[in-house]
Amino acid sequence: MERLNDRHLDALREVGNIGAAHAATSLSVLLQRPVRITVPTVQLLSFDHVVDAVGGAEDVVVGTYFRIGGDFPGNLFFILPAESARVVLRAMWGEGSLGDDLQSEMAVSALGEMGNILTSSYLVSLSDFTHGKVETTVPAVAVDMAQAILQVGMLTADADSCLIIHTGAHIEELDIWCHFLLVPDPEGLMPLLTALGVHGG
């Protein structure tokens, strides 16, 4: 994996860009506010540093997780930090304290549904962009420490590090951030680069 050159990295950044842009459009419709995405970063990170993209290891986040099958096996996460999740719930449900308890069934269900919509948008665009077969399972949602949630994406990684395609999304009117993390399996990476037309340098 250390043999990735600039063209590979550019192509993977484009995946993160197109996927997150689609998802951000869905998010924007959902919240009726403009959403801006960051320039994606593509990094090979040691396990302990994966979490840095979204905050501290013990920070509470709402995480939606998709296991991706098909031509490019891997993992996709939508991560919403706890404070951002509360703001989102207030924006969807109006003012009041209904959304303060993120562990409540209604909150988990609403945020899980939102995560589902956003990650689905991301994956549809990945499939369109690569003309590849992208299979997904039912998404799973959890509210807990960021590192504990992201761990599941590292189980299929190489020895001690994994490749992360990270895109941040910023909703300025609400002053909140959320994150998309695409974590291709090592054996999913080459097929992906081939589909993107950049395999072999």
């Binding site: 296991r67 949602v141 504990a148």
Partner: protein, 162 residues
Amino acid sequence: MITGNVVHVGMADLKVVHCPDRLRSVGLGSCVGVALWDPVTKVAGLAHVMLPSAEGFSSPQRAKFADTAVDWLVELMMERGGRRERLQAKLAGGAQMFTFAGKNDLLKIGPRNVEASRRALAKWSIPVVAEDVGGSTGRTIELYSEDGRLWIRTVRGGSIVL
């Protein structure tokens, strides 16, 4: 007042310290923290394992897998003044973070990590004197070499001491 250092044990890593230092692993999800302690020499060791078995992996990171990590940790403990027959173990972690697991075996790795850790310890005849495993919650743990206590914090349940 004991003022030791806190030594961080990252994912797929293991460390051994002497009194008064402490060992800390943050955000254990499906990973398992295998804590060993010798009550006489106060040598403490902690492994942060991610997967049950190194079988089928070429040139594995020994600390990443429950079977090889426990072997290595016991060896290191003995080199640093621990005695195998005095060692006692505590386990924490091995959660299933996502409950709608369906057919995805990756999401069920936590309980398998716990099982593999227990088996590896049994091979060395090291008793598991306490554990806080399974469930669906992330855990941060700290092992005190001074008295072997294992402090565990979760997001929902506050903290407990084993």
